[in-house]
């Protein structure tokens, strides 16, 4: 709740005006029957047409005022909702940019997307509903009852009685309904999951001859859902029936008791209309509010989910130190990256993913890292980029501990090709400009040819060829080459290729490596690979096994003394002619 109020705070005045506009509408709704009643009273008493016209004009004025209030209220509500949504989305997105990989993975991409889009939608909608349908309720009740008291004390008490009765009823139902609705949502999700599994897993299901079991599983989820839906429907049927019945009793009571009061001269015959309308209006608003309140728990869940994002303290922050405080330790000019007894453990794991890594990457040299899945190769790259922070030891880039500079500074020295070749929607040129905003077309073409991505010139629009989200309109190999080109556009001291050659055939792989050698001569290169061929000629090969360095050296040396390396090599060269 607090979160929502925080976002509403800048629009306090807007909120107040919205509520005032809404109240105008409510007041109009209550005044019209009052004027009608007056008409009747005067009409039967004096027979004065002027009076009636006077009241008619008053009615017109009230109607237009109330209508204007409602329309303005609608606009203000829409405005408020739009601003709230905008601010929350921006806040969530900007917050997400400060997250480390680990922070982000705690939520997951799918969940973050849902939070940014759907959850905020639901919050927006709930806030609007609250303002439109819940906030006016107390006003309606108070004003309605007050106007009943203005007619006659006894009638006032009658209306209080009815109002309290309906509120109690609504409260009882709301409490039951919230539970049912919560369960209903879960069952709906469950139904969706089970159905989706059946659709996507049809081959597996049939191969394992599980059709009947799956049918049972689906049926169970359907039945649970239907059962809960029915109980929700029954509850509402009960509420509606009771509420209408209460109102009818109230009308009867107004007639009977009102008759007495008119007889005794406390009120007039037209007031019966007014009183009836008041009670109907009160009932209407309370029931509507109740419907909204039932849906609020869902909004509360969404708010909590947004709050989680906003309140997460980014694990990795730029250290606020002035430049003067840190003096780069003495280091050889040609050392770009230095791992100094680095160990790393994911915050929620007991075992170290990387332990005691100690090596150096030099300018002009290629360092390769090889090892099995889950041995920590990609993690190593991410430590250099400071997507994660080391647990022990120190990673230094150009002689400075990566934690002692801003993340911006650090990453401006590095160019990175991620394992998953992700391209952004737009054009090829747009993507290449990620590496260098001011790059000329010639430069782009040159780099594309280095990255063996000459296919671009064969495309209909060349550099302006369309790129779909994620780059899905290009093959895996093309995407990898484009993502390599993007990285080469950036001038850096260190180039990291995280398993970036896997989708390339051997010929392209070889040609690319050759071109790279010429392109990057004065920077350090770090290649993470699974294929031995890719790294055969590296100046230094690091063999990782379960997070430890199992061997370090050139290919020939490793073939000789590192059994794990030999094993990998054998598995890939097996049967070779």
């Amino acid at each position: 709740m607090k979160t929502v109020f925080q976002f509403l705070k800048p629009y306090r005045r807007l909120c107040v005006f919205t509520i005032l506009a809404m109240l105008l509408d409510v007041a109009g709704g209550l005044l019209v029957p009052r004027l009608t009643a007056d008409m009747i009273n005067i009409g039967v008493k004096t027979g004065n047409m002027e009076y009636i016209i006077e009241k008619g004009i008053a009615m017109l004025a009230v109607t237009i005022l109330a209508g204007a209030g409602a329309l303005i209220g609608s606009w203000l509500c829409a405005d408020l909702s739009a601003k709230l949504g905008r601010d929350m989305r921006n806040a969530v997105y900007e917050k997400s940019l400060t997250f480390s990989e680990h922070d982000f993975s705690r939520f997951g991409t799918g969940s973050m997307i849902t939070r940014t889009l759907n959850d905020i939608n639901i919050i927006q909608q709930s806030v609007v509903w609250c303002i439109q349908m819940v906030l006016p309720v107390p006003a309606v009740c108070v004003m309605g009852v007050a106007m009943a008291f203005a007619v006659d004390t006894m009638m006032g008490f009658l209306l209080i009685g009815v109002t309290v009765l309906i509120i109690v009823l609504a409260l009882v139902v709301t409490r039951r309904a919230s539970q049912i609705f919560g369960r209903l949502q879960q069952l709906l999700d469950r139904m969706n999951v089970v159905l989706r599994e059946n659709l996507t897993g049809v081959r597996v299901i049939r191969a394992f001859r599980k059709e009947k079991d799956e049918e049972k599983r689906m049926r169970k989820s359907f039945e649970d859902y239907a059962e809960t839906s029915i109980s929700a429907n029954l509850l509402f049927a009960g509420l509606e029936s009771t509420a209408f019945f209460v109102i009818n009793i109230c009308i009867v009571a107004i007639l009977w008791l009102g008759g007495d009061r008119i007889g005794a001269g406390y009120m007039e015959i037209g007031d019966i209309t007014a009183l009836t309308e008041y009670s109907i209006l009160i009932l209407f608003y309370i029931i509507m509010a109740q419907m909204v309140i039932i849906l609020l728990p869902r909004a509360r869940v969404c708010i909590r989910r947004i709050q989680e994002v906003l309140e997460t303290e980014p694990e990795i922050c730029d250290r606020m130190k002035s430049a003067g405080e840190i003096s780069p330790s003495a280091y050889a000019e040609d050392i770009v990256v230095k791992f100094d007894h680095v160990s790393f453990r994911f915050p929620d794991a007991d075992e170290y993913a990387l332990s005691d890594l100690d090596f150096i990457c030099r300018r002009g040299e290629t360092t390769a890292v090889i090892g099995g899945t889950g041995c920590g190769k990609s993690t190593l790259a991410r430590l250099i980029l400071r997507f994660y922070d080391v647990t022990d030891g120190e990673v230094a880039v150009n002689g400075m501990d990566v934690r002692d500079m801003t993340q911006n500074e650090l990453r401006s020295q590095i160019s990175y090709v991620p394992q998953k070749a992700w391209l952004f929607s737009g054009t090829i040129a747009d993507n290449l400009r990620y590496g260098n905003e001011e790059a000329s077309e010639e430069e782009m073409r040159r780099i594309l040819s280095v990255a063996q991505a000459d296919f671009v010139s064969g495309l209909a629009n060349g550099l302006d060829a369309h790129v779909a989200q994620g780059g899905t309109n290009y093959s895996g190999g093309q995407k990898q080459r484009l993502s390599i080109a993007r990285a080469l556009m950036k001038k850096a001291d260190l180039y990291i290729f995280d398993d970036s050659f896997s989708a390339l055939d051997f010929k392209t792989d070889a040609a690319l490596r050759k071109a790279l050698k010429q392109e990057i001569s004065d920077a350090a290169v770090l290649i993470i690979a699974q294929r031995i061929n890719t790294i055969l000629n590296a100046d230094q090969i690091i063999v990782l096994d379960e997070g430890r360095i199992a061997g370090i050296g050139k290919h020939e040396e490793l073939m000789e003394k590192c059994s794990i390396y030999r094993e990998i090599a054998k598995s890939q060269m097996k049967g070779g002619v």
């Binding site: 969940s111 659709l199 191969a207 599980k210 509606e240 099995g372 049967g575």
Partner: protein, 618 residues
């Protein structure tokens, strides 16, 4: 009603028109079964309910008039009037009786309808789930899961919602409006005409709003797509954004897209919010006019006080449902369109039923048992002049012939689209061949039941399908009775035991579809364990090891080799390293086998295989 709101931006305003409403309704009526009686009872109840609701104001008018006269008489007789049983009290009690009966009828019908729609949906949903079992694989290959999913959830929910409240409301609305207008005409024609003029006015403005709303909603939809795209790609590509120091730029792009969404939403929301107040405004203007006019009639003595009040009650009773009617007709229409789509799904062509649909319910006989009894397949697979095409006139495979002897390892290689997966589809009878025969141990597979046939196969597929359950449950998927030690055994054999143990809940860790709590490679290991446990006669490995690195692949390979002993196995892989020891390599191109033989032989032959091999290991 809540379901409808879960997708705030779904365009429910789009009016869908069913192509053949008549026959769809007829068919829906048929599928209601015994529930039809319930619907008839409700309809009867609705008739009485409407009559009584229309009658009630007449009574209240009578009472007010009576009160008025009695009070006048009492005032002129200098006495104080009190409501007594005779004559007013009796009439009030009569009104109470009418209200009570109306209330009871209302309760009755809403309770009856409370389960009506849900039972109908359940019925149709169950039919869909049964249908899913009988649909050919080609259906699943040509339809997106989301599409089918939306039949079983959104379309049915839409129908159920309309059936639940819409139908009842529509019935009563029609009766209520007709009854009220008739009564109004009986009271005063001129006054009624005033009412009708304003009613037409409010309906016209509804139309106006509806058209506008649609336009703005479409614009917002565009903005939503843009933001959605932006959000998806920014989160998926955040490593790149951060690595290239593009945070500010990305935040700016996002802000722009979000601002556009806010702009369009503001307008679209306003149009939606404003419809009701606007209509209310028009209606109230009408009421003011009626009040003035009626006031004059009251003075002239044409209208009595009671009638004046009753007339207003009719105005309320008639104008509410009228404005709702347009909306309800739209939703009724689109729900019929939904039902039509559901029926379409149910009418899809089905696979050939099992030749032997006997008491043997497939899927419940544990493989292990049947194997140990010695009646299990030896694993001899023979393709004899197989011809197949996804559409009969365009054959993909023209004449496939080969024999896999028990215990052999058969490798299938070829580029994407060469027909490798198709071969497996035919073997498993996911698709039926056009001509020729596929034999398992000399028996024509077309003569076997699906259960009988598939019992002999174990598959590890490219997409690693696991279901929402624990790891242990997933491994035991093909053998529900498996003990924990058997499961662990299988996991160990598949090299999955180690990572499973590192998970917080070990084998009881729940795998859910969205929380990607294990990696792709690990999912692959689980599907391998799943097959290990089943211990089938024939193995099918469809690019199974493609997301596992070479070393892990080798370890799995060791386990697989162990498992493959005495079993026929079909392996599809892009990496030739895994298949050099195959007994038979089938090289496929454009659906046909162009080369057959073992590794050495094929290399010597210097054909397509040799070329492929050399390009990978040059």
């Amino acid at each position: 009603m809540a379901e409808n709101e879960t997708m705030p931006y779904s365009d429910d305003m789009e009016i869908e028109v069913p192509s053949d409403a008549g026959s769809t309704v007829k068919r829906l009526w048929k599928s209601m079964g015994r529930q039809r009686i319930r619907l008839i009872v409700v309809s009867v109840s609705v008739v009485f309910y409407t009559i009584l609701s229309v009658a009630a104001p007449v009574y209240s008018a009578k009472i007010v008039d009576m009160l008025f006269q009695e009070i006048r008489a009492a005032v002129s007789g200098e006495s104080v009037f009190r409501v007594t049983w005779d004559p007013v009290g009796r009439e009030i009690m009569l009104l109470l009786l009418i209200y009570t009966v109306t209330g009871i009828l209302y309760t009755f019908q809403s309770f009856l309808m409370a389960s009506f729609a849900e039972k109908l949906s359940l019925e149709l949903r169950t039919k869909i789930s049964r249908k899913l079992d009988r649909l050919p694989l080609s259906f699943f290959d040509s339809h997106k899961p989301g599409e089918v999913l939306s039949r079983a959830t959104n379309d049915l929910d839409k129908m159920s919602e309309v059936m639940q409240t819409g139908l009842l409301k529509l019935f009563t609305a029609v009766g209520m409006v007709a009854g009220s207008v008739i009564m109004m005409f009986r009271f005063h024609i001129g006054l009624t005409l005033v009412f009708l003029v304003f009613t037409v006015l409010s309906m016209v403005s509804t139309r106006f709003f509806a058209g506008r709303t649609l336009r703005y909603a479409a614009r917002r939809q565009q903005a939503v797509s843009r933001v959605t795209g932006q959000v998806e790609e920014s989160y998926s590509g955040r490593a790149v954004i951060r690595a290239f120091n593009r945070e500010d730029r990305s935040a700016r792009d996002m802000r722009e897209a979000v601002e556009e969404l806010a702009e369009t939403s503001r307008k679209a929301d306003f149009m939606m919010n404003a419809v009701n107040p606007f209509i209310r405004l028009v209606n109230r203007l009408g009421q003011a006019a009626i009040a003035v006019f009626a006031g004059k009639l009251l003075i002239d003595g044409v209208l009595s006080v009671g009638v004046f009040q009753a007339f207003f009650q009719y105005v309320y009773q008639a104008s509410e449902p009228l404005t709702e009617a347009a909306y309800m007709i739209n939703s009724l229409q689109s729900s019929i369109a939904s039902v039509e789509r559901i029926f379409q799904l149910l009418d899809e062509e089905e696979i050939r039923p099992d030749p032997r649909q006997t008491a043997e319910t497939h899927g419940e006989i544990p493989i292990a048992k049947s194997r140990s009894k010695g009646d299990a397949a030896e694993g001899r697979v023979e393709f004899s002049h197989v011809r197949f095409g996804y559409s009969a006139d365009k054959p993909l495979m023209k004449d496939i012939c080969f024999t896999a002897h028990p215990g052999q390892k058969i490798a299938i290689v070829g580029s994407t689209g060469a027909g490798k997966t198709t071969l497996i589809n035919l073997l498993m009878r996911f698709y039926e061949i056009n001509s020729g025969r596929i034999l398992l141990d000399g028996r024509n597979t077309a003569d076997m039941s699906y259960g009988e046939l598939r019992r002999n196969f174990g598959m590890v597929l490219q997409d690693t399908w696991l279901f929402d359950g624990t790891i242990a449950e997933n491994i035991a998927y093909g053998k529900p009775g498996a003990s924990r030690s058997e499961i662990i055994e299988a996991a160990k054999a598949a090299r999955a035991d180690f990572f499973i143990r590192t998970l917080p809940q070990g084998y009881d860790t729940r795998l859910n579809s969205d929380a990607e709590n294990i990696s792709a490679g690990q999912r692959q290991l689980l599907t391998i364990a799943r097959v290990m446990l089943c211990d089938p006669a024939v193995l099918i490995l469809d690019e199974a090891t493609s997301s596992v690195d070479t070393r892990t692949e080798m370890e799995i390979g060791k386990a697989m080799n162990e498992l493959m002993k005495g079993r026929t196995s079909f392996v599809i892989a892009h990496r030739l390293s895994t298949i050099v020891d195959a007994d038979l390599i089938l090289v496929m191109q454009n659906g046909d086998i162009i080369e057959k033989g073992d590794h050495k032989g094929l290399l010597r032959a210097g054909g397509a295989y040799a070329e492929l091999y050399n390009s990978q290991y040059a």
